[in-house]
């Protein structure tokens, strides 16, 4: 099915709804790396990240109508699901130990920040610009919330800043990033 390679997210979702495994395989080809990467980053555990990937694609297979192409890209949809599941796991009691291990591993690794997390060349260049244009406070708040899996209240404690301030900074940082990415042509309808 060569034509699937050129299919839009919406067309792919329709084909998945018709139980075409090749369509799910194409969605996996396009997005599984990102889904895995995010889950691995949040959970710090290969096996747990693989479970999240399995779960996200099983859910897409069994309930493809949860994805609405009008509301955004399939990648953003899948990543939001993966992030939600990963964070659920982090916040459950059984994962506390895992989290401690992860944080220990992380503090041992130097250079943990948004800029180093992004690798793909063309995307990375644009992102790097947008990220580097962020005020430091906004950048750290987003990092800790998104990749650290912390609530904004936890971030406030970690950064020793008021909760309301952190809440605002996460939002304003995301808006600033979006504006910056739009300037470089990456902002809209991205991540096919």
């Amino acid at each position: 099915m060569g034509s699937l390679r050129d299919s839009s997210d919406g067309a792919l979702a329709v084909a998945i709804g018709r139980w075409r495994e090749d369509a799910l395989a194409e969605a996996f080809r396009r997005h599984a790396g990102a889904v895995y990467g995010l889950a691995q980053r949040v959970l710090g555990d290969r096996a747990a990240a693989e479970e999240v990937v399995q779960e996200v694609f099983l859910r897409l297979w069994n309930a493809p109508d949860r994805y609405d192409p009008e509301r955004g890209s399939m990648r953003a949809f899948l990543l939001a699901q993966a992030h939600g599941r990963a964070v659920d796991q982090l916040r459950s009691d059984s994962s506390r130990r895992r989290r401690e291990q992860r944080d220990a591993a992380r503090s041992a690794a130097a250079g943990y920040d948004l800029e180093h997390e992004v690798m793909d060349l063309t995307v990375a260049e644009h992102l790097k610009e947008a990220v580097s244009a962020l005020p430091e406070d906004e950048r750290r708040a987003i990092e800790l919330a998104y990749f650290g899996g912390h609530t904004y209240r936890e971030v406030a404690v970690l950064l020793d800043q008021p909760e309301g301030t952190v809440k605002s900074r996460i939002r304003s940082g995301l808006m600033r990033l979006r504006a910056g990415l739009a300037d470089t042509g990456l902002g809209s309808g991205v991540s096919e």
């Binding site: 990467g37 980053r41 099983l58 859910r59 990648r75 939001a80 990220v131 809440k167 991205v190």
Partner: protein, 253 residues
């Protein structure tokens, strides 16, 4: 955000960034989701934040090479993955560690006769959907599969050849979506479903010799794994054999 004053639109808006990154508390999330159902503007903003987050998450690195095989195996007949066993350490535990326990309150409903009107070409995959269109159990399984707060899991045999997908809802309602992957049993034997909670194996009920869609209930949020064994007719108070399939689960909050 106090109880005294009704929240203003700005109160919701302020939270949208944190919400999009799953960085709000459970009660705030519920509160905000009520608002999102009625406010297309806020929904749009969340969608935009998630697009930006998706870019941040982009690493350009591929998923592990054998992961698709495992996903595919859970969908229906496909390439088995030799690595599945490593994910599921249950098998390595001796049977003596299964304690003597019966779950009096466990409820299992087995739907064995679903999904007969299935187009040939859809095979086993179509069977799920055909089955899910029908009875109350099947409709409930379908609803659970569509619920964004439910958790999916896969029970697999230690050699990876058998994969049974399932879903677990907040509150403990669970389903095996396609137990047809289990080989049929002869001689009056029956499959039995077990929850692993701490060091305990609790029976969730008998599935019969050829189960299809299975509904069950696990009251404890501490369930860490599910397993299916083949037992003599009437079942067992404790498992008498290693699991046919088993897998870890992460109950949704």
């Amino acid at each position: 955000m106090s109880d005294q004053q009704p929240p203003r639109h700005e109160d919701f808006q302020e939270l949208l960034g944190a919400y999009a990154l799953d960085a709000v508390d459970a009660d705030e999330r519920a509160w905000l989701e009520d608002h999102l159902r009625e406010c297309p503007r806020c929904r749009d903003e969340v969608a935009q934040h998630r697009e930006v987050a998706a870019l941040l998450a982009y690493s350009g690195a591929p998923a592990p090479a054998d992961l698709w095989d495992r996903v595919s195996a859970a969908l229906g007949p496909g390439e088995p993955s030799p690595n599945l066993a490593a994910l599921y350490p249950l098998r390595s535990r001796g049977r003596r560690t299964w304690p003597l326990l019966v779950a009096a309150a466990a409820i299992v409903v087995v739907v064995g006769a679903l999904g007969w009107q299935v187009h040939r070409e859809d095979g086993q995959i179509g069977r799920l959907r055909a089955g899910l269109g029908g009875s109350g159990v099947a409709a409930a399984a379908r609803a659970a599969a569509a619920d964004p707060h439910s958790a999916f899991y896969v029970l697999t045999s230690s050699d990876g050849h058998i994969a049974v997908p399932g879903v677990l809802e907040p509150g403990g309602a669970g389903f095996l979506l396609r137990a047809t992957a289990l080989p049929g049993l002869a001689g009056g034997r029956t499959y039995q479903l077990w929850a692993i909670i701490g060091q305990q194996r609790i029976s969730l009920g008998l599935l019969g010799a050829a189960p299809d869609v299975v509904a069950f209930h696990v009251a404890s949020p501490d369930v860490s794994a599910l397993a299916v064994t083949a037992e003599q007719a009437g079942g067992a108070v404790q498992p008498t054999a290693s699991p046919v399939v088993a897998g870890t689960v992460h109950p949704p909050a």
